[in-house]
Amino acid sequence: MERLIDSGLEELTVMVSKMGGVAEKALSVSINGFVEGEDLSKSVHELSEILVNRTVEVEEKAFSLIAKYQPVASDLRIINSYMKVAYDFERFGRYAWDISFVSTRFNAKTVKCDKWIFEYIEKMAEKVLQMVRVSINSLRRLDPELVKRMTEEENEVDKTYFEYLDKLVAQASVTNECTISSVLVVRYLERIADHAMHIMEAVVYVATGEKVTLR
């Protein structure tokens, strides 16, 4: 039986799902730009702005659904979670822009880093992007099946992050553009992984009603 609220919920789902695609693109473009030494900040900034605007739209849509239909139970959980997830996507966009800003600020074309530094960043970026993709797909299917795997991956990201900082302190003899920019980027990656976990928490909440803290 089609309910009056259903078309609104469907519209909200599509809006959030599209945001996921934009967020993923923003992150992969910005990380790629840093690793390849390219200044892609303009296009990343455009994607980030799209996410900011979409978050406002999701919030407005969610509020109108609440005001019109006073949703409860799974309807209420979906609306509440989508508002939070939209914010997580907005943060993805912001961190993507921050990463591309680092590339610009420290002149990506001239920054010279030791090979091992890029290897760490690439390894971490690969894991984080994978987490972002899993969280977005889980949200689309409202399936919390991969929570355990995500928790393990998040632990690995954290481990890589701290390992990198320790190694940098031990091996980098001077503070230069490379060390500063790489520290900023790994920090942003670590935060992105946290937001991917927030999305998984929202998926668990919508699917089961259980409020979990996965971090």
């Binding site: 039986m1 309910r3 609220i5 006073q70 409860v72 139970a73 309807d75 209420l76």
Partner: protein
């Protein structure tokens, strides 16, 4: 108040199929469920008015303060004084003044002292959030009041005999939103002194005013829990379907 394996029968129809439910004291418990699920029958069993319907029978127990109100030694009239009831449509006694409506139950119970009657009338009207609106018109007929005021008059009438439990059967279904808000406000205040059990079809009303919610289906208790949990994360799929409107 508690029910133990409570069954209600109308002729050949079993309207309640063994209800076990503890109503928390000084709380508002909402009873919800689709039409015909037995919710009105349940509250009519709680103060023994179900048995007034020809062909109606009750089995099982309703415990109030440790005593089964269906025990043969218990006087049903005394029980109805301890467990008051407010009905769907405001039903003030049509020939009586506002004042006489409030004290009618007291007079029936033999209270004759004028000061005592005045005191309880004012107290009951204040508790029903009606005093300020009628204090200068106590001699006017109860039926001269608006629908919302009449319903609060009926609440005041049920309070005057100082019951322990108040049962309400869709008390706002005939009222406009402003009158509903006033009745709801008085219900939330009243729980400080009484245990309130309310049947409502209005989900948002249950969510607004009740502490606990019981969901009934086909004469059985499907789910009971804190209202906030029932409305956020119901355990039963039937409850979920009912409150989200996915029923049928």
């Amino acid at each position: 108040m508690e029910t133990r394996d409570l069954k209600a029968i109308y002729g050949k129809l079993q309207a309640l199929k063994g209800i076990n439910l503890k109503f928390p004291e000084n709380k508002v418990t909402a009873i919800m469920g689709p039409s015909g699920c037995g919710k009105s029958t349940l509250i009519r069993c709680l103060n023994r008015i179900h048995e007034l319907t020809p062909g109606a029978k009750v089995q099982g127990e309703v415990i109030l303060d440790g005593i089964n109100i269906y025990d043969s030694k218990v006087d049903p009239v005394a029980i109805r004084r301890r467990i008051g009831m407010v009905f769907q449509k405001p039903n003030p006694f049509p020939t009586m003044t506002i004042y006489d409506n409030v004290v009618a139950g007291l007079k029936l119970n033999g209270v004759r002292n004028r000061n005592k009657l005045n005191e309880l009338a004012e107290k009951s009207l204040r508790m029903a959030f009606l005093w300020d609106e009628v204090k200068n018109d106590l001699k006017k007929p109860g039926t001269a009041l608006s629908g919302g005021q009449q319903q609060r008059l009926c609440i005041a009438r049920s309070l005057a005999v100082e019951p322990e439990v108040i049962l309400m059967d869709e008390p706002c279904s005939a009222l406009d939103p402003i009158a509903t808000a006033k009745v709801e406000e008085s219900i939330v205040e009243l729980k400080k002194e009484f245990t309130i059990i309310i049947v409502t079809h209005n989900l948002q009303q249950a969510a607004r005013i009740s502490d606990y919610t019981a969901f009934m289906y086909l004469g059985k208790l499907e789910e009971f829990g804190e209202t906030v949990d029932i409305f956020e994360n119901p355990k039963s799929e039937l409850t979920e379907k009912y409150i989200t409107g996915k029923f049928g």
